[in-house]
């Protein structure tokens, strides 16, 4: 077995599991795990946006919750205040997040290193405080519930999130499309330019790349991903709240991305999945399970800075080299 075969089999099994989860999971565990799994998929997009910036362009953002929160608010305000339907509200949320990423990114990507991390936190804090105090529009920390409009309706036929299967597959398809798009971008010349900038921005400038524009496009794509995640999460939970714009949410996304494995396409799903499952399993047993999460974070940074994705890659290579070695002997 070689590396590609093992990885392809792994991804195939993962896709198969995702497509059958609504029927498969209730056979073994409580049915609410289907909802948890949708939640994992949504949050993984936020981790993916951190991963895109840090893993592929080398910018550690601690403020991705801002774009997630705007995605949420776009949907909630669109439905509640402007009476928008499902798709226009979805578009409005993603648009708000992406537009904000363009504006803040144009300023933020002028900085690098720790300064970039600080300015992204500061931007997210500014809008967090605004959302918190602008109660008539945002509902502040009480949040803003809304009743979800149908995804599609024609005559008597109505497709809506009130049907759990529709909700699940809508989330799966949207998240899947985002990963496909991300994978496509990373394969393209732009994706290679990202890696060049990450490895050595001076050299990238010298070979004629526009480092500023490349960083900005990564930032905007990351904002878009976070916005889609926020919009989906608003539909999923039927509400929006300023709580999700706080820097702790950004920090969690960074942690998910790093534990999953920075610079790998599917690492964010693994990291997000692991920590959310840990939360669901442990929080009922041990109230202070967060201490364990903190320890895991620190141990990962010290001993496995490439995360589970890095460990997986090493394991697969090990298995592949052993089996090919066995073939030689034969």
């Amino acid at each position: 077995m070689n590396v590609t075969t093992i990885n392809r089999t792994g991804i195939g099994a993962f896709v198969l599991f995702t497509l059958t989860a609504p029927w498969l999971l209730p056979l073994f565990v409580d049915a609410f795990w289907v909802d948890i799994y949708s939640e994992i998929l949504i949050w993984s997009l936020l981790a993916a946006s951190v991963n895109l910036l840090f893993g592929y362009v080398g910018l550690l953002s601690f403020g991705q919750a801002l774009y997630f929160g705007l995605g949420m608010y776009g949907v909630a305000i669109g439905v509640e205040k402007f009476d928008l339907g499902f798709w226009p509200a979805f578009g409005f949320g993603v648009f708000l997040a992406t537009a904000m990423a363009v504006v803040t990114g144009a300023l933020a990507v002028r900085l690098t290193w720790h300064y970039f991390a600080i300015i992204t936190v500061v931007f997210s804090l500014i809008f967090y405080f605004m959302a918190l105090s602008w109660k008539p529009v945002t509902g502040g920390d009480d949040g803003m519930p809304f009743s979800i409009p149908p995804v599609f309706s024609m005559g008597d036929i109505e497709v809506s999130f009130t049907d759990p299967t529709v909700q699940y597959f809508f989330i799966v398809i949207t998240v899947g499309l985002c990963y496909a798009l991300l994978g496509r971008i990373l394969q393209s010349p732009l994706g290679r330019a990202f890696a060049t900038v990450r490895e050595n921005d001076l050299r990238a400038t010298l070979i004629g790349l526009n480092v500023y524009a490349i960083r900005l496009s990564a930032f905007v794509i990351a904002g878009f991903l976070a916005g889609v995640a926020g919009a989906l999460f608003a539909f999923f939970g039927r509400y929006a709240s300023s709580v999700y714009m706080f820097y702790h949410v950004s920090g969690e996304a960074v942690v998910w991305a790093i534990i999953g494995g920075i610079g790998t396409l599917l690492g964010p799903i693994i990291g997000t999945g692991l920590l959310i499952i840990l939360r669901e399993e442990l929080s009922s047993v041990w109230e202070h399970y967060q201490i364990l999460v903190g320890v895991i974070i620190i141990l990962t940074v010290i001993f496995a800075p490439k995360g589970l994705g890095g460990l997986w890659a090493r394991l697969v290579e090990h298995v592949a080299s052993r089996s090919s070695h066995g073939g030689d002997v034969k």
């Binding site: 300023l107 991390a117 300015i119 500014i126 605004m130 920090g251 942690v255 903190g294 974070i297 940074v301």
Partner: protein, 285 residues
């Protein structure tokens, strides 16, 4: 008018306490190149320890001596266990301190509990100041912070260890080559940073609430002071902390406190973008 004076005075008192905490943040950033997300929680641990000392001994003054010492010890242990091993993964240091922040908050919640407590100031009573009755303890808090800050600058400029710290900050490699024990300096710097935040916690505990989430509010403010004052410009940090807190206090007297916070944050982003060495760059060093 009385309200403006009271809030302005409160602002200055808080600014001095913040300055004490932010100085710790600044030296940790300057020497170890680490963004310490857990720094607000170091302050919080200080308030909780102060509460615990008072609870056990019934004497609040003991906390002023005991808590910074405990803080120094905790800081040294954390530096040895967490910070030292990640020295070669500097980009991820912010993630490790985020983990540290989670552990400290949850650890305090598990032991101290999640119910906020109020402490009575060890000095009660008020004094007539600028036409208003002002709490004596707050004046004491300001004086204590000034003494601690002065002590810190004295340590930095008048002792051998302080000179070494400045040397390591300036150029760690040359400092090591000259025989300065760099690793020990890192350990002591981090420990001193923790001790200063903890002392800030002791000073502030009677005028705020003792709560496991207290650090979350303090952290952005400390960062603002460090950035606006100029990274590495310790005098600038102190000036910025007092100035920002005073202005926020004045704004609070006629507007929403959140608006004051948003204004400070906008100022901070402008400084980061256009004057990355702080607004006092060139005037103080």
């Amino acid at each position: 008018m009385e309200l403006v004076i009271a809030l302005g005075l409160n602002g200055i008192v808080w600014g001095l306490i913040i300055a004490l905490i932010a100085l710790g943040l600044s030296i940790i950033f300057g020497l170890l190149d680490i963004i310490n997300i857990a720094h607000g929680d170091f302050f919080m641990v200080g308030t909780v320890l102060a509460w615990a000392v008072f609870d056990v001994t019934g004497n609040y003054w003991l906390a002023f001596i005991l808590v910074p010492v405990i803080g120094f010890g905790l800081g040294a242990v954390i530096e040895f266990l967490v910070i030292q091993p990640i020295k070669n993964a500097a980009a991820l240091s912010i993630v490790a301190t985020f983990g540290l922040s989670v552990i400290l908050q949850e650890g305090v919640r598990a032991t101290y509990g999640d119910v906020p407590n109020r402490l009575l100031p060890p000095i009660e009573g008020t004094i007539l100041l600028f036409g208003i009755e002002y709490e004596i303890y707050r004046l004491f808090a300001a004086a204590a912070s000034i003494i601690a800050i002065a002590g810190f600058f004295g340590f930095l400029h008048r002792t051998k260890f302080g000179t070494w710290m400045r040397a390591v900050r300036f150029d760690p490699e040359t400092a090591t080559a000259m025989g300065i024990p760099t690793r020990k300096i890192y350990l002591v710097t981090f420990a001193v940073g923790f001790a200063m935040a903890a002392l800030g916690g002791v000073v502030a505990a009677p005028i705020t609430t003792v709560d496991f989430q207290a650090g979350i509010d303090i952290l952005p403010f400390c960062f603002m002071a460090v950035i606006i004052g100029g990274l590495g410009n310790l005098g600038g940090t102190v000036a910025a902390a007092v100035l920002l807190s005073f202005i926020e206090g004045i704004i609070t007297s006629f507007a929403d406190p959140t608006a004051a916070r948003i204004a400070s944050l906008c100022l901070m982003s402008a400084v980061l973008m256009f004057r990355p060495h702080g607004i006092f760059a060139g005037s103080m060093r």
